[in-house]
Amino acid sequence: MPTEIGRDEVRRLLAEGAQLIEVLPAEEYAEEHLPGAVNIPLRELDRERVREFDRSRPVIVYCHDYQ
């Protein structure tokens, strides 16, 4: 089961090389996103789209807030 984390933990993991994915629609990502985040809208999240990610490193996903 995925672990829910807060802002401080996000910063710590990013400093250690975690990968960051925003799952909101492209228009919302374009307007504003966390530094270094890659956009994969939830509807497009499939095995093909995640091939570029390193499975040996942590992956953090986020959207706007608790939706």
Partner: protein, 158 residues
């Protein structure tokens, strides 16, 4: 949305998956840097013609006024236009004639005029809402952003 994405990633074989559930709203609220292009803000689309009423007014009188306005909501404000509550469709449809204070939902979530429109649209979509209230930092009503108008504005581009 992000919990679903995290679960899918685990199903795809990732074993170090984390969900930052508070998301970019939390990141931005903490004053941390966000990247992106300049875009429209909530204040640009906030319509000041939203019906308003006062706590002590009778629901029946408010309902008749709202009915001719083209809106399906009425914001409850104090004499300084500080937002106290909201009468939504269900409250306005009540057939008893109570006071506004008795019928309203208190303390609606409000947004500042400088909130990015895309973020506001995301918030409304996530809760199946068709509008959002915009106020100044001291709670005074600026207006209401309607989801359909905000989506059209975003589609029009910067």
């Amino acid at each position: 949305m992000s919990p679903r994405a995290a679960s899918r990633l685990e199903a795809f074989g990732f074993d170090q998956v984390y969900d930052y559930a508070a998301g970019k709203a939390d990141w931005g609220a903490a004053g941390l840097t966000l990247e992106g292009r300049p875009g429209p803000r909530a204040g640009e689309l906030a319509r000041a013609d939203t019906p308003t009423c006062l706590l002590g007014e009778r629901l029946q009188a408010v309902r008749s006024g709202v009915g001719t306005s083209g809106w399906d909501t009425c914001l409850v404000v104090d004499p300084d236009r500080v937002v106290l509550g909201r009468l939504g469709r269900r409250a306005l449809a009540r057939d008893d004639d109570v006071t506004v204070e008795e019928a309203m939902s208190a303390g609606p979530r409000t947004f500042r005029p400088d909130v990015r429109l895309g973020a506001l649209v995301g918030w409304m979509r996530g809760r199946s809402l068709t509008s959002a209230v915009v106020t100044t930092s001291d709670g005074r009503l600026v207006g209401v952003v309607r989801l359909d108008e905000a989506e059209a504005r975003l589609a029009a581009g910067p």
